[in-house]
């Protein structure tokens, strides 16, 4: 196979890697600030996809036009889940959040199955089949949009964390809840915000994926595994790590799918995962302890 195919495959992987990064950044933000691993992150991607489908089906709003609405709805769902469930396990033993978020993941899958049945749904967009070509390379518009929006969202989050008082407070909570408290920061406020943003990012990823993926109740599990691999690969709690990890995994998965076998595309992911962890056990951007 020629370099053309190699470049095309890499580029396709890079684009989808941006979306993986977005899911993983949400996961790593929640973990970094609250020390809680959200095992239901993939299910929130799935919810984002269903919201996108509902907006299209009932209101005729396309996925891209409705992106902001979907993000706000997901943020509010995040708030509800936080107030009703997550708040009970903050600062408790690890088993508690593991059982809670795993249970939430099963609940969300089955609740959606009950409401929407197991049918595969599709969301169409007028831009779905448009593509940009350059030399031998072709990129479909949904991939380009997904990549650009994902990267923009990560950039906005990075700015928020680094340059605003709200972000500094979240970083203070991430490092020490107690130090943050004696500085006058209400940790619960930072936790709420981190969780809602993390869920909104998963939702945005879901919306960006709908023109490319079927929407069905179990679709979130695809992204759960990938998101965990990306987060650990990048270093738990590191936003730049999750971004880089997402892009790498996207490319590796795409290349394995093309050159080895489509069924084995996740194999490459895990090979890279193991190699990186062998040399850097705390991940690419992880803090060595």
């Amino acid at each position: 196979m020629g370099t053309g195919i190699f470049l095309q495959t890499t580029l396709n992987g890079l684009m989808i890697g941006g979306v993986y990064a977005l899911v993983a950044v949400g996961l790593t933000l929640i973990f970094g600030v609250m020390k809680i691993v959200n095992f239901a992150q993939g299910e929130f991607v799935m919810l984002g996809m269903y919201i996108s489908w509902m907006l299209a089906h009932f209101a005729g709003i396309g996925p891209y036009e409705g992106l902001a609405i979907s993000a706000v709805i997901m943020f509010l769902i995040g708030y509800l889940v936080f107030r009703l469930l997550i708040v009970r396990v903050i600062g408790k033993k690890d088993e508690e959040f593991i059982l809670l978020t795993l249970g939430l993941s099963i609940f969300l899958q089955n609740a959606i199955l009950m409401i929407f049945s197991a049918d595969y749904l599709t969301v169409t967009s007028s831009m779905k089949d448009s593509a940009l070509s350059f030399a031998d390379l072709t990129l479909t518009l949904p991939r380009i949009i997904a990549f650009s929006v994902a990267l923009t969202a990560v950039a906005v989050l990075t700015f928020l964390l680094q340059k605003t008082d709200t972000g500094r407070a979240m970083r203070a909570c991430a490092e020490s809840r107690e130090i943050a408290t004696v500085l006058g920061i209400n940790p619960m406020r930072s936790f709420t915000l981190a969780f809602c943003i993390g869920i909104a990012l998963a939702g945005i990823a879901g919306v960006l994926l709908t023109p490319m993926f079927y929407v069905y109740p179990g679709v979130g599990t695809l992204f759960n595994t990938t998101a965990f691999v990306v987060v650990v690969l990048g270093g738990m709690g590191s936003v730049p790590g999750a971004l880089l990890g997402g892009l790498i995994i996207g490319i590796v998965e795409s290349l394995t799918g093309s050159y080895v076998s489509l069924d084995l595309s996740q194999l490459g992911t895990f090979v890279i995962f193991l190699i990186v962890l062998f040399f850097r056990p705390s991940g690419l951007f992880g803090k060595r302890t």
Partner: protein, 234 residues
């Protein structure tokens, strides 16, 4: 200004403080000394609301703070520098300082506060882009004090500021504490370093296994035979 009235508290079922009564007047520097395990840090944590008080009460400027959430105390004017300095290691020196002025009343004059702190501690301006954790012990203590000053506190609570510092650095830390006190800030200070602590304070309390064993003017405590025998080996 700070009135602690017969408080009892501890961790889990274990009682650490058994009826402590203590006060700090406006502009006063008070030292709290005692051996390891006497409950000094626990007392400071109770004042800052980091652990709940079982009985008794704490008032600050007439307001009962016993049941207030810990994060509301800095806005009243209490700055707590915890043991081990409480510098955020993964956050830059500059951001550590800005976080010192997180409370609304301090945020509005953040820029001028920053200038003042950099004037007292030029090294912090030099290292402002470095991570807090990369500073030396003495520099971290300066950062912790500088960050507390950013909030313009009425009462500064220091938990063993000399811990783990070289003797020459300890001297400069106590000189800074004296300067802060001279500006009218009340100070409550825990120290193992009895000589320095009693030299910088006007009054002192000796804590022994959860109770106040002795209290009085620092000079008197320093000349007390029991104190000299127990803490100075004289």
């Amino acid at each position: 200004m700070l009135e602690i009235n017969n408080i009892v508290t501890g961790y889990g079922d274990m009682k650490v403080l058994d009826g402590i009564t203590l006060s700090v007047a406006e502009g006063e520097t008070v030292a709290l000394v005692g051996s390891n395990g006497a409950g000094k840090t626990t007392l400071l944590r109770a004042i800052s609301g980091l652990i709940p008080v079982w009985s008794g009460n704490i008032t600050f400027n007439g307001q009962d703070t016993t049941k207030l959430p810990a994060h509301e105390l800095p806005a009243l004017g209490i700055a707590h520098i915890p043991q081990g300095r409480g510098v955020l290691a993964q956050v830059s020196v500059y951001d550590n300082l800005l976080l010192g002025a997180y409370i609304p009343s301090a945020k509005s004059r953040r820029e001028e506060s920053l200038k003042e702190v950099f004037k007292i501690f030029p090294i912090l301006e030099e290292k402002k882009t470095h991570l807090g954790g990369s500073l030396s012990g003495g520099q971290q203590q300066m950062l912790a004090i500088g960050r507390a000053l950013m909030s313009h506190p009425k009462l500064m609570i220091l938990d063993e500021p000399s811990l783990g510092l070289a003797p020459i650095v300890v001297d400069s830390v106590f000189k800074i504490i004296k300067d802060i006190s001279a500006q009218g800030v009340s100070i409550l200070l825990i120290e193992q370093n009895l000589v320095e602590a009693l030299a910088v304070s006007s009054r002192g309390y000796v804590l022994e296994t959860g109770r106040i064993a002795l209290q009085g003017k620092s000079a008197d405590l320093f000349n007390n035979d029991a104190v000299r025998a127990a803490y100075l080996g004289l």
